[in-house]
């Protein structure tokens, strides 16, 4: 029962939200529902922590035939982190988003994203995973273009086309896989693959198609172009929601598929995954340094940081996977909070171009602290959560004797620090350049300036607190991640649990 709640709850909200005709009621109900979703996911984490795995057979059809929802420690953890991110963005949007967008169903589609994301984390069936992906994508398409500004429509076209193509890759892969194996249940596919001594060559094309699908969704090199072309166009709170949730689902699915299926053909996939990880890290971080838009710098960093997670997967040791899971959770929270600060800067200054910003530290010291915490957590400064994540991954890389990738990860850390310092210098420390054009732009959102920002402060402050706590009290979290990695490393457990 508890396993299906994270999917059921957003759906129930979407239906009941129609009852609240006035948007003002709707936004508080949305925050309440997001808090409820967080409570459910905490219960889910505690339950999987004690029992290991949970499952629900939809409509009581037995495992390989019906749709299964499975929650193991990894997916429960992801559901929890997604719930934290979602609650923060919902609370942030109460004061951050304009009335027009709120009135036209922003919360409906935001909960649509949550439903799709939670569903993908819990799906135990390949086609079901695809359907959840589509639910998530459909809602995100709408949020991307919601409001209908010219920039947004332009970003939406790019986002839409490339994400649709990734869906085609994924579905075509599923079709071929079903044609070869005759099953869609993940556990059943893994069991059937285990019967072969070596992976039969005719199955690999299906997995390559699926891998490309996930790589586009997860914004890995060389398929990342849609992300920096579109993430800076919608309102900042929407970007924060996307940055926290969407690409991470692609990476989650890649980890799930690799540990269940692809590792059985490890001699082909492991070098490929490691190369993709290394290139994503390097190319993402180097392209970020040349950008002069607050959100574009952060968007390119998503690519680099996704590379770290995939590197932990490519090492394929318990330590590496545990580090990858911790890093994924850390990244979802820190990245979202960095975008939330960008939202606040946008509210106060009316622009996000680094060249025209300045003086922020003098005017808003509290928000500078929030940005400092999240940005330097991304860069990996102790005692913040990013340091623990990077430390675990690099240590695992050295232990597994993949020196090249471990050194790349270290080296990329410096560049991350560089661009975070760049944002810090340009937005927070520099004296604001005098420019008539900018002044005018500021005047246009004078109404915004007067509005209260209390909910924004609480949301971003809460996230900053989570980042600090995640770094200081890392021991139980790392332990949980290691247990999650151990159960991922022994797919037989998963197969036996789902099929029996």
């Amino acid at each position: 029962m508890i396993v299906s709640l994270p999917v059921f709850l957003p759906l129930a909200f979407m239906i009941f939200a129609f009852l609240f005709r006035h948007y003002h009621g709707r936004e508080y109900v949305a925050v309440g529902a997001a808090a409820l979703n967080l409570a459910v996911s905490v219960i889910l984490v505690l339950k999987t922590g004690s029992e290991g795995m949970l499952k629900v057979q939809m409509g009581n059809w037995p495992a390989p035939y019906g749709i299964t929802l499975v929650a193991d420690r990894f997916s429960a953890m992801m559901v929890l982190v997604a719930a934290i991110v979602f609650l923060a963005t919902m609370a942030f949007s109460v004061h951050a988003l304009d009335v027009k967008r709120k009135r036209f169903g922003f919360y409906l589609f935001a909960f649509g994203i949550l439903m799709g994301v939670n569903g993908s984390f819990l799906a135990g069936d390949v086609f079901n995973l695809y359907v959840w992906f589509e639910v998530m994508l459909m809602a995100s398409f709408i949020l991307m273009s919601h409001g209908g500004e010219r920039n947004q429509l332009e970003g939406s076209v790019k986002y839409l086309i490339l994400n649709l193509i990734s869906s085609f890759f994924f579905v075509a892969g599923i079709g071929l896989l079903y044609g070869k194996l005759g099953t869609l249940n993940m556990a059943d596919i893994a069991a059937k693959l285990m019967e072969f001594d070596t992976m039969p060559p005719e199955i690999n094309p299906a997995f390559i198609l699926i891998f490309v699908g996930f790589a586009i969704k997860g914004a890995l090199v060389p398929f990342f172009f849609w992300l920096p072309a579109s993430y800076h166009t919608p309102p900042p709170v929407v970007t924060a929601l996307f940055a926290g949730l969407l690409t991470k689902v692609g990476i989650y699915s890649l980890i799930r598929f690799y540990t269940l299926f692809l590792h059985q053909h490890g001699e082909f996939w492991q070098p490929l995954i490691l190369w993709v990880a290394g290139l994503s890290m390097v190319i993402g971080v180097i392209t970020a340094t040349s950008q002069f838009d607050f959100r574009k710098v952060l968007s390119f960093h998503i690519i680099s940081q996704v590379g770290y997670v995939v590197m932990g997967l490519g090492l394929f040791t318990v330590a590496g996977l545990g580090g990858a899971i911790y890093f994924l959770a850390h990244n979802m929270i820190s990245k979202t909070n960095a975008f939330l600060v960008a939202g606040y800067v946008h509210r106060r200054k009316g622009t996000l171009s680094l060249k025209t910003l300045g003086n922020f530290y003098k005017e808003h010291p509290l928000w500078s602290v929030f940005f400092f915490i999240s940005a330097f957590s991304l860069a990996g400064l102790p005692p913040l959560s990013g340091f623990i994540g990077k430390y675990l991954l690099i240590k695992a890389g050295i232990e597994a004797e993949y020196m090249g990738i471990a050194l790349t990860a270290l080296f990329v850390g410096f560049f991350t620090l560089f661009s975070m310092v760049k944002i810090w210098m340009e937005v927070f420390w520099k004296v604001e350049p005098e420019n008539k054009k900018i002044k005018q732009r500021n005047l246009t959102n004078k109404a915004d300036l007067k509005q209260s920002a209390a909910w924004m402060t609480w949301a971003s402050g809460g996230m900053a607190l989570v980042i600090v706590l995640g770094g200081v009290f890392a021991t139980p979290i790392v332990e949980y991640c290691t247990q999650a990695a151990e159960s991922l490393m022994s797919p037989q457990l998963y197969i036996d649990f789902v099929l029996n």
């Binding site: 086609f127 649709l164 044609g179 869609l184």
Partner: protein
């Protein structure tokens, strides 16, 4: 039969990719539709195709042999995929309309206003 459909799918993919590479947004969208149909056909084909075979059998009927049956699952999957692509088609056309209203252009090369110069 399967071979003919497989070749047909290949042709559809070729057409779809060709349309995707055109400069006009309308042709791009048509390309997406063609690709989505080609992908649906792949799923349809993955269950194998039997002429005049049946998928479901009534309780009183005598047992049908497995050879004369087509796997019904891919057909159910294709139905799901078609419904999804219907929703996406509706959205994508609305987006195109709105984009044209704002900018008055069909040209993909005009989509560079948000890029860093």
């Amino acid at each position: 039969m399967e071979l003919i459909i497989a070749i047909f799918i290949g042709l559809l993919y070729a057409c779809g990719v060709y349309l995707l590479l055109r400069r006009s947004i309308v042709k791009l969208i048509l390309g997406v539709f063609v690709l989505s149909n080609a992908t649906n056909l792949i799923i349809f084909l993955s269950g194998g195709i039997q002429r005049s075979g049946i998928s479901f059998i009534g309780e009183q009927a005598e047992k049908a042999s497995l050879e004369s049956m087509t796997d019904p699952l891919p057909q159910a999957l294709v139905l799901t995929a078609i419904v999804i692509s219907l929703g996406i088609s509706a959205y994508i056309l609305a987006l195109k309309y709105k984009y044209f209203e704002k900018t008055g252009t069909h040209d993909l090369d005009q989509l560079s206003k948000t890029d860093q110069k």
